[in-house]
């Protein structure tokens, strides 16, 4: 009766449709996810096939079907499976692989080479920003995802893309539901869940997100320092339960659990990402309310991705303040720094740039770069992903064209403004690029060229 989930060859759904099963996409605490032969669909199979679990799943899927998920990258459940199997069929976008693939190099692999093959730092930041954004949107809808993990977060297999999907939608629960479960994937469960104190909520999601971010970028679990890694498996269980004897690996004051492995954090984390990691894994480990929200992570991750440059030697991404690529030592190539600031027109005074910059972004030489509405308008979520302007620098000046609407450039001496539409126009570095009409508030971009770093 208890056939191994990995061995099932065929399942039948509630409407009688048969599905031939293909490869294993992942296994977790609750069961396994298998591909349906032919692609586009997957089935989630549960190890617990009890009548209670069946009824619970049936009700849960009914509720999930009522949620307005159609605009979110969440694999929707389609049909329940017939007994004796307990599980359901879900959509699956083809060409996606578990995030796990970007978190653990195969044994014997050259770590840096493997990191770059997965798209390097920049792509990892972009994917994690998408994950944080998706969780933030779910939280904003009053939902909890419950079990963010490397096995149910799926990302584009093609490293040129940065699509991200969550599977296992049966995990979704209302943030305040009294019957919320307390399951987790070991390694990603908040300490209060591991210790059996309480159920899932947005703060347990926030813990899992912090671990996923830190681990995907640095290839190191933030709670598994050298002593834990080299010790018995029981030490690992204690560390993951938030035992105070094992502070997180980069705790600035409490150095009882340091890690010598993983990528150096200053290579992969900005100051803000390190700060959020500490908030989540230092004070936030025992005090859930101290954990940064998914929305804060999303902003910090997007900002970090915009601060990376592509190495002309190894094509890996690195932060713009390094004069050499930290992976291969190639000197940093010439680039243009873009600073985005608010433009505030006023009736009584001349219009002016207000305050410090609200965002920055890099522009490499001789490579067109698309600015999205996240930078040009300050939009968030999917609205922020709209392509707005394409810029190219030849090292001497810029060429600009709009992909949506128009923009205006103004000279520093206050000469006649020039409007730019979908036709490419050249502009000097010291001109100001406006993403809105001069008589209404909008964002602007200033440009600052940096020469190639000394070899």
């Amino acid at each position: 009766m208890d056939e191994l989930l990995e061995d099932l060859k065929e399942v039948v759904d509630a409407r009688g449709a048969r599905y031939r099963l293909g490869g294993l996409l992942g296994t977790g605490g609750q069961g396994a996810v298998r591909e349906v032969a032919g692609g586009r669909l997957a089935v989630k199979l549960f190890a617990d096939r009890s009548a209670t679990r069946r009824e619970q799943l049936r009700r849960q899927l009914l509720q999930v079907k009522l949620l307005p998920l159609s605009t979110l990258p969440v694999a929707r459940p389609l049909e329940m499976l017939q007994p004796p199997v307990l599980g359901y069929v879900m959509e699956l976008i083809t060409g996606m692989v578990p995030l796990q693939r970007l978190m653990t190099p195969p044994s014997g692999a050259h770590v840096a080479e493997w990191y770059l093959q997965g798209g390097g730092l920049r792509r990892r930041l972009q994917l994690l920003a998408r994950l944080a954004e998706l969780l933030a949107r779910l939280h904003g809808m009053g939902l909890v995802y419950a079990d963010p993990s490397p096995r149910n977060t799926f990302v584009s297999e093609d490293v040129r893309h940065t699509e991200l999907w969550l599977i296992d939608a049966d995990n979704l629960h209302a943030a305040s539901s009294p019957g919320a479960p307390a399951f987790y994937t070991p390694g990603y469960g908040a300490p209060e869940l591991v210790r059996g104190h309480g159920a899932v909520n947005t703060l347990t999601d926030a813990h899992a997100l912090a671990v996923l971010v830190f681990q995907t970028l640095s290839l190191l679990h933030p709670l598994l320092g050298d002593a834990v890694e080299e010790g018995e498996p029981e030490l690992q269980e204690r560390a993951l339960a938030g035992d105070e004897a094992f502070p997180w690996v980069d705790h600035p004051e409490d150095r009882r659990n340091p890690a010598s492995r993983g990528l150096p954090r200053e290579l992969v984390l900005t100051t803000l990402l390190r700060q959020l990691s500490h908030e989540a894994l230092g004070p936030g480990l025992g005090t859930p309310s101290s954990r940064p929200s998914a929305a804060r992570w999303a902003e910090a991750l997007h900002d970090a991705a915009a601060l990376t440059l592509e190495c002309t030697g190894c094509t890996g991404g690195f932060y713009l303040n390094r004069e050499r690529c930290p992976f291969c030592d190639t000197p940093r190539a010439a680039f243009v720094l873009m600073k985005f600031r608010r433009w505030e027109p006023s009736r009584s005074q001349a219009p002016k740039l207000m305050g410090p910059h609200v965002a920055v972004c890099t522009l490499p030489q001789a490579k067109p770069q698309v600015l999205t509405a996240r930078l040009t308008e300050g939009d968030t979520g999917s609205a922020g992903q709209r392509p707005r302007v394409e810029l190219t620098s030849d090292g001497k000046r810029l060429s600009v064209r709009c992909l949506e609407g128009s923009c205006i450039v103004t000279a520093p001496d206050g000469g006649q403004p020039v409007e730019i539409g979908d036709r490419r126009r050249a502009m000097p570095f010291d001109w100001l690029l406006h993403f809105g009409p001069l008589d209404s508030p909008h964002r602007t971009a200033q440009f600052e060229p940096f020469p190639e770093a000394r070899p």
Partner: protein, 219 residues
């Protein structure tokens, strides 16, 4: 091509599988030793296909027969194991095999402290011909072997059920029975699946007891 810097990441923890194989003279009958060799070889091949991130399956084979108990295959990552067929001859010194198993499991240079709980697998078709009780007692009361997952296959009516029962007691598994050589392969398919399932599980240190019918559902 530029040269990239070296970084280290943590390696998966070993998940040890230790097989105690009866290679006494009676195993030469009815194609049993051939079936056992083929089954273990299949198991090694399946294990070496497993690329999991948190657990790496290591295998050791302790044989007991004419030359007493011998370490036929030292504890090795499955992907690197060099297989040599086992010959069947001699008596059934199972007690000596228990002693070898205990020494291996308790030896922290061979089986590091960071390893997950081992799986001990015993296959026999006969009655032990040496003092097995004290050796088994020592094995089952030793610190790490007592926590191990234990599985046993009794081949034929001759196999001493009492010994195998005592071996699995408290290890979460029952004694499997087989009357023919082909059931040796079935049993090892089951062992393979139980171990790979554990290596892929979210927490490989948890030993999940399987239900008795598992064996038949594999066919």
């Amino acid at each position: 091509m530029v040269s990239l810097k070296e970084f280290t990441v943590s390696s998966p923890r070993p998940l040890p599988v230790i097989v105690l194989a009866d290679i006494s003279g009676s195993m030469a009958e009815g194609g049993k030793i051939q079936a056992l060799n083929a089954a273990v070889k299949d198991m090694l091949a399946s294990f070496s296909d497993e690329e999991d991130v948190q657990a790496q399956i290591h295998v050791a084979i302790i044989t007991f027969g004419r030359d007493g108990a011998r370490l036929h295959l030292p504890l090795t990552p499955a992907a690197q194991a060099q297989w040599q067929d086992m010959p069947a001859d001699g008596r059934t010194p199972m007690g000596a095999a228990f002693e070898q198993a205990r020494e291996l499991v308790e030896d922290r240079t061979r089986l590091p402290g960071r390893a997950y709980r081992p799986t001990l697998v015993l296959v026999s078709d006969g009655i032990p011909t040496d003092e097995w009780k004290p050796a088994l007692e020592r094995l089952l009361t030793s610190e790490r072997a007592s926590k191990a997952e234990r599985m046993a296959l009794a081949i034929g009516a001759e196999a001493e059920n009492e010994v195998l029962q005592a071996f699995v007691a408290g290890g979460g598994q029952r004694v499997f029975r087989g009357d023919e050589a082909r059931e040796i392969r079935k049993f090892f398919r089951f062992v393979t699946q139980t171990v790979t399932r554990r290596s892929r599980a979210a927490n490989p240190n948890v030993v999940t007891p399987a239900t008795p019918t598992d064996l038949d559902s594999l066919v």
